[in-house]
Subunit: 356 residues, 2 copies
């Protein structure tokens, strides 16, 4: 890990870290006042505390927890990049990162949606951020540019629920291809014949791998290739795709959607938009395990991410990298779990009671 020049710490008077006495002298207060200013329960007036904090900042003095970080040049702050949190799994992802990082004494700085990668790197450097998690809830090209800049600057980066085919960055993902294959097995096994896939932006790794797993397995079964519709990873994207698919003369009787909000949009296009019964007329399977997949009005069969395990793995990889261990760039893949509800017929089973 980073080390200052040999012997530098002990000798150079300029290099000596400011003490509470230095702060007291500069602020023209007692050392005890400095100590109280940094103690949550201690009595000190707001104006006195402000005076102490101003002097402390001027001297680069930092107490306690931060001081521990100082000796290893770490701020103990990790940045998280997730500017597009339209996908409803991300609030839970954020909470889980917050809990896990806190248990390791880390805080989260939220990296805002920036103009370009330079702006992001400047922020990372100015706040001396220890490491960065880039989630799939972020623009792809910008994320890649930011990852490249940070790695070149020696700042560890881990991708969450995304990987780059053409840039070596550590990443933690769901086993998306396996999830897609599972959806194909269920829908084909249930006796469906006209398959469709509703996907997200075509360049994202979630879209690519979920489609590939689904289409490859269908091909292995000798089934016809699925129809494809794509859109943004939103309810409206899924609703629009569903409306187009159900208006076709050869409308599909089985749809696999690349995430749950797409699937809920497709469900509503079927039921409300086209008066179809689910799953009598069409089976629909989603991906993610979003909370609203469980709502009685949706009752969506889905492949749920193991979000807690994915977050824990991401934090582990990141902290190891911050500790100076080299992170492998081969994507880590954690399987998803099939959650059976009533939006899809099951192989060999009877028709589940219609939920509408």
């Amino acid at each position: 890990m980073a080390k200052a020049g040999p012997g530098a710490k002990a000798n150079a008077p300029r290099g000596k870290r400011a003490t509470s006495y230095d702060v007291a002298r500069l602020a023209a207060v007692s050392q005890s006042a400095v100590s109280r200013a940094f103690t949550p329960d201690a009595y000190i007036s707001p104006s006195m505390r402000k005076k102490v904090l101003a002097a402390a900042r001027q001297l680069g003095y930092q107490p306690n927890a931060i001081a521990r970080g100082l000796t290893t040049s770490r701020s103990r702050v990790v940045a998280l990049f997730m500017p597009n949190i339209g996908n409803p799994i991300y609030p839970f992802v954020l909470q889980t990162f917050s809990h896990r990082l806190r248990s390791h004494g880390r805080q989260i700085l939220l990296l805002p949606l920036v103009e370009n990668a330079n702006e992001a790197l400047a922020c990372m450097l100015q706040y001396q951020i220890d490491g960065l998690v880039i989630t799939a809830a972020s623009p792809l090209a910008l994320s890649k540019a930011i990852a490249r800049k940070c790695l070149a600057a020696g700042i560890p980066v881990v991708l969450f629920n995304r990987y780059f085919a053409d840039l070596k960055v550590a990443s933690v993902n769901c086993d998306n291809a396996r999830g897609g294959a599972l959806a194909a097995e269920i829908l084909h096994g249930a006796g469906h014949q006209r398959f469709a896939f509703i996907g997200g932006p075509e360049e994202t790794s979630t879209h690519i791998d979920r489609y590939r797993g689904f289409a490859d397995r269908l091909r292995a079964f000798g089934a016809a290739a699925p129809l494809i519709e794509t859109g943004p990873y939103t309810y409206d994207g899924g609703h629009g795709a569903g409306m187009r698919l159900f208006a076709r003369r050869d409308r599909p009787d089985a749809i696999f959607c690349a995430n749950d909000v797409l699937a809920i949009g497709a469900l509503d296009a079927a039921r409300v938009g086209h008066g179809l019964q689910v799953p009598r007329d069409v089976s629909i399977i989603g991906f993610d395990g979003a909370p609203m997949a469980a709502w009685a009005g949706n009752d969506l069969t889905t492949i749920a991410l193991r979000l807690v395990a994915m977050v824990e793995s991401t934090v582990e990889v990141l902290l190891r990298a911050i500790d100076g261990q080299r992170a492998g760039s081969e994507p880590i893949r954690i399987p998803g779990d099939l959650v059976i509800r009533k939006s899809a017929r099951m192989p060999g089973g009877s028709l589940p009671a219609a939920s509408t």
Copy 2:
């Protein structure tokens, strides 16, 4: 604002802020290397950059943007407290805070769910956070304790979508009582007679004011007092409350819910759980303007918060307080907007086409 002791800055050698030359000496590199280490586009090896960052941290040296903050003892970081983001308006709230604060050159540190207020204050002090926004997406008692600690420490606090009846803290809210009254006007005007209110935790200001506005207006109309059911502010809370209400012999024909996820739970309890038609058998109105209120399967009439205006107002109040202006503690109230969809009959109007 905070000032160090008179004359302190210019004189004391110990108090002198470290320069890039000091950092270069300690790290045993050239000054140009120090400069390059803090410049996003500059060429520098990762190991060299690490060496420079370690020395910079040891000396408390900070370049550029942070240096500007130093002269006023500000980190230009604002903390946001929203550990319970089950309410689906909060992802948008978080995004909007992030955009607005970035436009003012501020970053967001996400305050995690802590054990107690001391831990929160310690974090605020250690990272020298400029100010704190506490959102309604947080435990009430803990939030109040944190607000009290921060204010005593001279750290500005603004509440978002919440106020404390018994503690003077600046806050920005929806005009909840007016929203509740509006719901009463619509449901009473549409000819309903058996009213119910599904609320959240009874001690929250959103629950109290939305109920009060609703019940007071009904009383003014001479209507019977509404039935009340409460639960957590979640889909399951609303679903459970709805199931109980619809099982009553005197089941309500009009329900006002204190937020949209409660209302969607109640909608599903009516349609899926009890086979009722909405709004033929029962009208349901929500509150918030959550994205899924607009989904075709829900089609929920609601009173939408002006979230962008509320966030902008919160940021404005907070930045003024950081600038040393005293913030008033009288709650700022921004009206909500009625969004008419198909889950409730309207006064004088014909029955909207049933959405199920």
